[in-house]
Point group: D2
Amino acid sequence: MLRTANDYINSLRDGRIIYYKGKKVEDVTKHSILGVTVKHASDLYALQTDDDYAEITVTEDEKYGKISRFYHIPHSAEDLNKRFDLIYKTTEYGRGIFNIIKAIGSDAIFALMISSARVDKKYGTNYSSNIANFYEYVVKNDLALAVAQTDVKGDRMKRPSEQKDPDMYLRIVDRNEKGIIVRGAKAHSTQAAVSNEILVIPSRNMLESDKDYSVAFAVSPSTPGLKMISKPVKSVEDSLSDETLVIGLNNAESETVTIFEDVFIPWERVFLAGEWDYAGLTAVMFPTFHRFTAIAYRSAMASLILGLSKLLADSNGVFGASHIRRDIVDLIMYKETLRSAGISAAYKGVKDITTGVFTPNTIYTNAGKLLANTHYTDIIRSAVDIAGGIMATLPSSMDFKNPETSNLLKKYLAGAKGDVEDRFKLMNTLRYIISSLNALFTTAMIHAEGSIEASIIELSRSYDYTNDEALAKYASGITSKINEPRNERD
Amino acid sequence: MLRTANDYINSLRDGRIIYYKGKKVEDVTKHSILGVTVKHASDLYALQTDDDYAEITVTEDEKYGKISRFYHIPHSAEDLNKRFDLIYKTTEYGRGIFNIIKAIGSDAIFALMISSARVDKKYGTNYSSNIANFYEYVVKNDLALAVAQTDVKGDRMKRPSEQKDPDMYLRIVDRNEKGIIVRGAKAHSTQAAVSNEILVIPSRNMLESDKDYSVAFAVSPSTPGLKMISKPVKSVEDSLSDETLVIGLNNAESETVTIFEDVFIPWERVFLAGEWDYAGLTAVMFPTFHRFTAIAYRSAMASLILGLSKLLADSNGVFGASHIRRDIVDLIMYKETLRSAGISAAYKGVKDITTGVFTPNTIYTNAGKLLANTHYTDIIRSAVDIAGGIMATLPSSMDFKNPETSNLLKKYLAGAKGDVEDRFKLMNTLRYIISSLNALFTTAMIHAEGSIEASIIELSRSYDYTNDEALAKYASGITSKINEPRNERD
Amino acid sequence: MLRTANDYINSLRDGRIIYYKGKKVEDVTKHSILGVTVKHASDLYALQTDDDYAEITVTEDEKYGKISRFYHIPHSAEDLNKRFDLIYKTTEYGRGIFNIIKAIGSDAIFALMISSARVDKKYGTNYSSNIANFYEYVVKNDLALAVAQTDVKGDRMKRPSEQKDPDMYLRIVDRNEKGIIVRGAKAHSTQAAVSNEILVIPSRNMLESDKDYSVAFAVSPSTPGLKMISKPVKSVEDSLSDETLVIGLNNAESETVTIFEDVFIPWERVFLAGEWDYAGLTAVMFPTFHRFTAIAYRSAMASLILGLSKLLADSNGVFGASHIRRDIVDLIMYKETLRSAGISAAYKGVKDITTGVFTPNTIYTNAGKLLANTHYTDIIRSAVDIAGGIMATLPSSMDFKNPETSNLLKKYLAGAKGDVEDRFKLMNTLRYIISSLNALFTTAMIHAEGSIEASIIELSRSYDYTNDEALAKYASGITSKINEPRNERD
Amino acid sequence: MLRTANDYINSLRDGRIIYYKGKKVEDVTKHSILGVTVKHASDLYALQTDDDYAEITVTEDEKYGKISRFYHIPHSAEDLNKRFDLIYKTTEYGRGIFNIIKAIGSDAIFALMISSARVDKKYGTNYSSNIANFYEYVVKNDLALAVAQTDVKGDRMKRPSEQKDPDMYLRIVDRNEKGIIVRGAKAHSTQAAVSNEILVIPSRNMLESDKDYSVAFAVSPSTPGLKMISKPVKSVEDSLSDETLVIGLNNAESETVTIFEDVFIPWERVFLAGEWDYAGLTAVMFPTFHRFTAIAYRSAMASLILGLSKLLADSNGVFGASHIRRDIVDLIMYKETLRSAGISAAYKGVKDITTGVFTPNTIYTNAGKLLANTHYTDIIRSAVDIAGGIMATLPSSMDFKNPETSNLLKKYLAGAKGDVEDRFKLMNTLRYIISSLNALFTTAMIHAEGSIEASIIELSRSYDYTNDEALAKYASGITSKINEPRNERD
């Protein structure tokens, strides 16, 4: 049953333990900073009854009736296209800030459906039914979800079981009839602090020695032993004193270090517990779905930066200059190459035989994501080149309100065309993106959903070289026909 | 009616005037060098009856029966996908050398169908029926076509009518009841020397002062007054003394400077003659189709370079090294981003209302092409980095035949695995690509189907900024809702 | 006579009009935010008596005795090397924040010495003696200087005299026996608010129609009619609540929009007034000196980012990984290519014949600066890639003080080696650089001392192609000897 | 005593065994292709008595009188500057083709002087006097030298002693009182076929198990058991039929696979034989000198490509276009960054304490070389972008001689200005560089003097991070003063 924004907000007052800048947060929904992250998440619920958005955010399910479209299991390219659109449009609605609270959890559920079926097949476990039940629980209650994957990792060159402190990767410290006890910490869990359930999955492939680290489960943030320490949400803090910064006043997400001090998880919420040879599968299935999600929200972010740059080029009167055109095209290329990767990932997706879940094409998903990683700083350079130096050295919006300075600013900050205060707002927003939001945006673009190197390794491994090699051998005269050997992918 | 390879070859003995390295070519089909370009083109005919290729090269047409699939007018995304596949696979068959002889002409015909309809509507001309009749003539006779678009241009900063010598852009010097007389020269017309008809179209937009330069028509290469001067086909010349260079021995295309010394063109073969305000449309519609074609053949070329690089990485035993993996992924990204652009260009294509011709999406087509332009030299750097220095300083295949040196080479040129002569062939082929083929490949990748700057201008002009600007204004607090104004593209 | 830090600070209490975030600043030296920019500038005075720095910051002048080394007029490559070192080391002392207050003014004075001599020669003016007297005044009183060059510009595609509002470039609105009256606004004048004199110079070349805009002079910030509106100094504001952010607590500079409401300038402080054909020379001589300065301070900034990255690579235990090595080398290349440009600019500098002032080599200065412009965002990408995602999602320093979370953070944020709080500080500092400082750093790196396009135009114009063309003609067989024609530069 | 060109040429008729394209070469000086490489090398001798070049190619030595300046041991920055100039100017004289025959050998001798002193100190060997005697022999007889360093390597991931075939790295197979017996093959030894002595040195660091591979010596090409198999010198072959290609008709070098079939080396020519812990030192000292040489010749190559591009931009009438200016500046940046690295490497060089040999600065040398490696394909892209498509599809010079086509070409290939045949020559030369010379140039730029990865490893290892780390700690508040710890490099 679909919840309202208020239903969702009320559900967060459950005793969860959150810290923010050295203080315990009494009620996250009323916190001056984290409250914005609650408001932002609640928008996804509000949109379900918004005339303009209901059609894309809600769908009719045979079994459950009206459900959130995020929780519709994809069975076709068309389903993936709609999912892309849903993520793109809700990110636009969030003024370029992704709204993760249903997307990431469903990405993880779809991945766990596929991986659980394989684990069950080998080990006779019943993880498939656990994840199916959990899915039903989520859909029926229209829950908000977070995912905690990345461990804190200590020495990055060592495996989980090789670390000096054995808790640097989350692990099972005990197990009994009712469930397992886990200890460890997950880094940067987005919106965990404002979620109803956190899905915890392994962050890498494992060896037998890493058995205890091969664990996946779902847990409520209010479970005893679970503590979340939030990063300072700079983008909200910076906007409090400037009413023109509407992004920070309305849209934000928080990340927490999520710490498990011997937390109990009942068996029915466990999806992997020691089957080390499947940790890698879980670790890799989730990113395939989530990177597809990433391509969608990142192209909406790119749209924002492109739009600001285009309007500022007009405002500066330089849109026709050759070097500015080149900058603009850099931005177009970034946005549209992401979108193109999304289209191809959907149309060339693959249906999982056992579960029927339709998975985005790995190559296009990773290729799109890798482009997004490696070129984000390039589009920032292009946007800054277009905006001009004044963007960074601009007075504040308060100077527009002071009668002693307001007319001077209106006179001297005028551009080639357009209203001068609108011009200020566009520049101020771009300044905000490359300052208040920049640590998040740049780092997320480079690391979120897996690092650059991770994507390079994934692409070089999963790519099927058969046809390229066949062509090379044929063109080198080693074979006399192109189609030996040959597969059907190309 | 489908022709055989021999039908096609015989059709070229028609008195056409071709020069090669200072000499007139008596019979192009028997010329030691240009003969290879004939052979290469004839393969497209041979494939029509080849069991492995007939299905993709031939299609059943309601009106004309079995026709070349190249001449099937696209009416849907699926048609474009099949066309992409057709070009990709015939390029593979040509060992990475594109086979242009039916692709480019059909690209031009589709473009002229659309543009002619618009010219006719304004001017009451009958170009639509001219191009329709010409199309029927081509299909029925299964002709080989070339396109001549780029003028020699003289001073690139001046318009056609501003040049010191008025003939630097091809122009109408006279017109009478029966037709027009044209003079000028078109640079680098690929395979014009071995075509049955050459389609001539304007290379840029025109002003009223450039009226006489606004001309499009079809002409047979044997028409009096038409002379073609070929470039030296280095890739064939270099292979003659090395039997291991199977590419050059089998697959090549030539470019000619195609000179019109007052050539008469009858009205029924004219598709534009003075309607200067439509020269730009023709100049821009053709590239949209042809750049889609380019993305297809370039991804096949990229596949060849990727395949060679992968096999050489294995042969050198370095596939696992991190920096080599990065090189390999550069190659994968290049190839697959092109392919992804092709997929998106097809699925997001647009049907022309008047003619029903389905046109590839402009943004994805140009974005793919621009990536191909700007990153080709990067993949060469990656391939060379993988192959190692030995690739360039390698002895010749003849040294493998000399008993005094053969065993020494077999001993010392052995790699980590694989047959040493195969290893030599792979290196020799890559060396051939970056030497004998390099002037063509690099220049074509940067300039063919329009220069880098041309694509940048096209993208910045044709891109619809409405939604990006709407998002920027909304996120900057200038508007309070995202969807004002708004279009439906995104 | 050298001043103390206190002398300098006291000199700023002179009634100057400054606005900050909508409020008039009573006493800049006591302002909670701008006070840090005063403190930072005053360090240059304090260092003059610091044992470790006196040798590099003070020099003995024949005429004036002990003077600031910034005000030593360069006469040799060695002088430029020492100047580079002076700027580099004082930037290091400022924790990577450039200390502009003596560097930029001396850059402008050196440039005005050269340009004034040429103006005087043509027009019989006495600007040379004006700038010489001003120089003496500055040296004797050990003054702090700012430069105001960039006009607010309105429509960037229009010349000064073509703007709708004639005040979009600063101009002479009246002149009389005693001096001139100027009106207009200069954008982003660094540290003007805490300077003793502001040097105002033209921002571009002029035509005769722009005569009134061709003006250069010096003016005290307390002159009637002069108003400065500061940008919000985010880097200081953000550090106030976090005692670990020592950069923002100690080191910062402000930029102001500096507005001239009909300000009177006496003739003895004027260095150009209507000689429009020399506006361009002034506009271009200053950047040559100032870009040399920029190369020096930017290589110190790069050193900071390199140092943080290296320590974080060690802390993460990933220094040995191939892709991390590549990132580290990106950072080394950036820093050392800048330094190398500085070395070459000094050793290949040129002595101005009339004045004896030794000018940095234009090509190496601009090449170094262009590299700094275009690759800054690349090193940020490399630094972020090394640091890892946790850098952006890190809790705050306050969480290390809260006993409920402190031990958890110490346990879970431990790296491969080193103290965990030091690790936090390094990450927090890098986060600060890519957020609080990022709008300034990125924009300054791309626009300060002239935009990317400005450097490209300057390089393509000032480069001497003679020898390259001679080589090309010789190697193409057009000439038979390399040395015809030939110059001696290479 | 200085030799004449004829002395040198005659010295090559000594029974040396060379193979070229499957045939044994009877007399290398008379060989139709390799003869050009002899002629090119002999130019270095001819220049010693050329009025324009004697001053830079010859110097007066205290001990030996007039000697080749290449063999002057550098003792100061000034010596390195002159050496840079010598290499640059002789490369210009060679029409952009480096003339290696004295440069590389002296690079190796300087390196061996330094390394031998250290080996002798530890092992009591007398390699220092061996290399000193060899140096005297070279200087007195004005010899031409080659260096053979890179082994054929087999499986690149395995050490010498781990290879399946133990001969994949050159090794000592026997030793006796008189000398050592060596077996193995060195890849791509430039100009070994036309040298008087070949210096053989290890290609990597070694472990004790690689003892027999730790060997350095000098050997005459006519020594029994030594065989050289040349690569086909495409650049010469391609020019034979085109008299306008003056580069290939006059200037070329060959590379050989140089095979040692149990060759005897007397002890007095041995500089390392089993002292495995010094193999790495030798392997790394030589590149330092040789990469400095590389920066010099590569900047001359870059000058050629820049000159051609500039003249073609003028010829096309596009020099003023913004995107062409950007291309031109890419070329300027490439050339001048290399030159700047050379200047800095000289001025910041270091004197070896024991031998007094002045060594180029490692960081600037490697940084310059790495830029040359990674950006060569970029300047080719820029040059091709400037030249336009016609460059690749141009007819041949023979078509200018055929009266039937000559006037047509002169009319239609005319540019914006300049003689049309000169225009053709410039284009033809650039086409030649990106085809006939391209496999060599591109591969050499990426691999010669060490691969990209080798430079990255070298830079990340040899760079001194002390000051950068000190700054990072200070700016992060970990230390309170910048100068703890601290070294004096910066």
